[in-house]
Symmetry: C2
Subunit: 385 residues, 2 copies
């Protein structure tokens, strides 16, 4: 064997992808099996213990033990006998007891109000209320969040699994919000503050990120990778790849609002100029609509959709994802903006990408952040394999 | 509890992220433990059995059994006694036996030649050779690949783990190349053809994708998410997130060459116009350099870097990754192109993104595709948890 051209010095260490990150210990198996069974029962209405065993590959004995444990916790319930299908006696069906526990969900994404809800294990909103922000900032804004949380907590008599929050701004692990300018929150430890106040587990996520989780979880099971673009006060996105939320190295994945798209554009609040947010965030679009004539309405909206499409085409191509969901006020999004974004993205991506692409508007945009906040809490219940 | 505003119909099924996709069975544990130990020994030079047990959480008995099995297969070897450190007798170190097995790696990414290499378990190139393509296409091009494979196979007397290939074009699971125009390969089952011919496991990946795997594995362990942009005959990218290659819904992740960047631009071979590839692929840049005067050389290169930066800024922002590597001919990439790409990306991304960003040129660009092709085979050896 010749050591010829191109030999490189031996690397001292290598890391192969995908990483092996978990140890397989007996206690991990139990946790994994619990996750597996819960995951299966979240994805269907009801199964017999025998069906769970077949589908999971676990033994009947393990399944019986696990189901007994989960029924004891109140998460699962026996739902009646399965329909008779030929020989053998029909099995008792078990399924999620959707109202055995509730989640307190908060949506802080609007600039003028906070929304709170009680949500069950199937994502059904049992109670929902809003409070006007009234310009509160800093500690006063936090006290409004706490009062809203107390108010919704009083609306359920079930076990509360935890508090889920969707908020503007970059959220770093531990639930600290790096910056939410309109609330005057800077490195604000919202998760820790709420946990102190209520003694419950708290999970905080960026509003666009949790909206993407909600679409992934409740609006098209197994529909694959997706990006949700949130057009509200600002403009942000949430990306789900392989079923998991993309977080990014500085927890800032999806933060496309301050990508510069016009080097000679208007100054932006961020101190730079020509940011995408100036073209597509709702207040900026409304401002342009207010000075444009009725005849120019469609042009204003189409220009915003086109700017969004130009920024998204490289992202959609690089990720090769098939699903784009726009979320925001219907009067702004539906119509020329959505059409123009769709046309621009299709024009600018190659056929293998654009042929499979679905570009739509979120139907009940208002509640995606609440539902996604609930998903943060549900994911913790189910656990991670 | 009131069923108030905003109640939505109960979803029949939900899927929570991250998905639980694996069952935890005893045989899986054994496979996982094997992966875990191999992964650890790929990441270090040598460890004693006691160190492996401590670091992995496995019992001494399990580690001894696994190590004996891997030494028996020739993958691990005993490397001598550890240095004495106080009390107790020093342990025997075990480590990867880097030349116990070899990998046959092929780089088909250039338009005029194929490169083949014999690579060991540490990514050291033991033998490397090139053949001129001489305009061969279709079956003739495949016969050249096969002849090159036979030639390099004859250069090692070690056990051959498999054949790894980096190729232009989208590669779908099973190793079929959707389209490699200059080779006149259309839905060409290269993986199956090579496996038939050589009776070895074959792993085929897109050239930019495997280059990204190589950077992740050999050029900065644990350095996090990254994008490698390949500027050669065409322009493509490979993206590694969380240590794993991003594949995309149609196996086309990273295919940014045919994002349109200029709706009034030149016609492209893809049938559309104004594609990024026209601005940044090497043949197009060389063509513009050949008609530009010497005084305009820097301008031509800077314009290409700027086009690349404009297309990458939204991608880097959306993914919040910290590492961009450009790969291609030094005379084209190094200098004004790289500088202009760097300046444009920094200008167009917000501080939280750009502050952490490293934008560099691959040092030994030629071999990244070979090394990445070898990583495909190594990953299969180590297995996936």
């Amino acid at each position: 064997m010749t050591d010829a051209l191109g030999a490189v010095p031996p690397p001292r260490t290598v890391r192969l992808a995908p990483r092996v990150t978990t140890k397989a210990l007996p206690q991990d198996s139990r946790v994994n099996n619990r996750s597996l069974v819960l995951q299966m029962l979240f994805e269907t209405e009801a199964m017999s213990r025998a069906e769970i065993a077949r589908a999971s590959g676990l033994t009947r004995a393990s399944v019986s033990t696990l189901v007994a444990e989960l029924v004891g916790e109140g998460v699962l319930a026996e739902l009646g006998l399965a329909a008779r299908t030929g020989v053998g006696k029909p099995g008792m069906l078990v399924g999620l007891d959707a109202d055995s526990s509730h989640i307190l969900a908060l949506d802080l994404s609007a600039d003028d109000r906070f929304i709170g809800a009680v949500i069950n294990l199937r994502g059904v909103v049992a109670y929902r209320t809003e409070v006007s922000l009234g310009g509160a900032t800093g500690q006063a804004a936090f006290e409004q969040v706490a009062a809203l949380t107390a108010e919704i907590a009083g609306r359920t008599d079930r076990r509360v699994l935890g508090i889920g929050v969707g908020t503007p701004g970059i959220v770093v692990p531990g639930g600290t919000i790096v910056e939410a300018a309109h609330l005057d929150w800077h490195r604000f430890p919202l998760g820790a503050r709420l946990a102190d106040r209520f003694g419950l587990p708290v999970h905080v996520g960026n509003d666009a990120n949790v909206a993407a989780l909600a679409v992934n979880t409740f609006r098209g099971v197994g529909a694959g990778d997706l990006i949700v673009v949130n057009l509200e006060q600002g403009a942000g996105a949430g990306i789900v790849l392989g079923g998991a939320l993309l977080e990014g190295e500085q927890s800032a994945a999806g933060e496309i609002g301050h990508v510069m798209i016009d080097e000679d554009g208007e100054p932006c609040v961020c101190g730079r100029r020509g940011c995408l947010e100036l073209a597509i965030a709702v207040p900026h679009i409304r401002r342009r609509l207010s000075v444009a004539g009725v005849a120019q309405r469609d042009e204003v909206l189409a220009a915003a959709g086109r700017a969004l499409g130009i920024a998204l085409a490289p992202v959609i191509s690089a990720l090769n994802l098939n699903r784009v969901v726009l979320r925001g006020p219907e009067d702004i999004i539906a119509g020329p903006l959505l059409e123009s974004a769709r046309t621009t993205i299709r024009l600018r991506t190659m056929a293998v990408i654009s042929d499979q692409l679905s570009i739509s508007r979120a139907i009940d945009g208002e509640d995606l952040v609440l539902l996604g906040a609930a998903v943060l809490v549900l994911s913790a219940l189910i656990g991670v394999s």
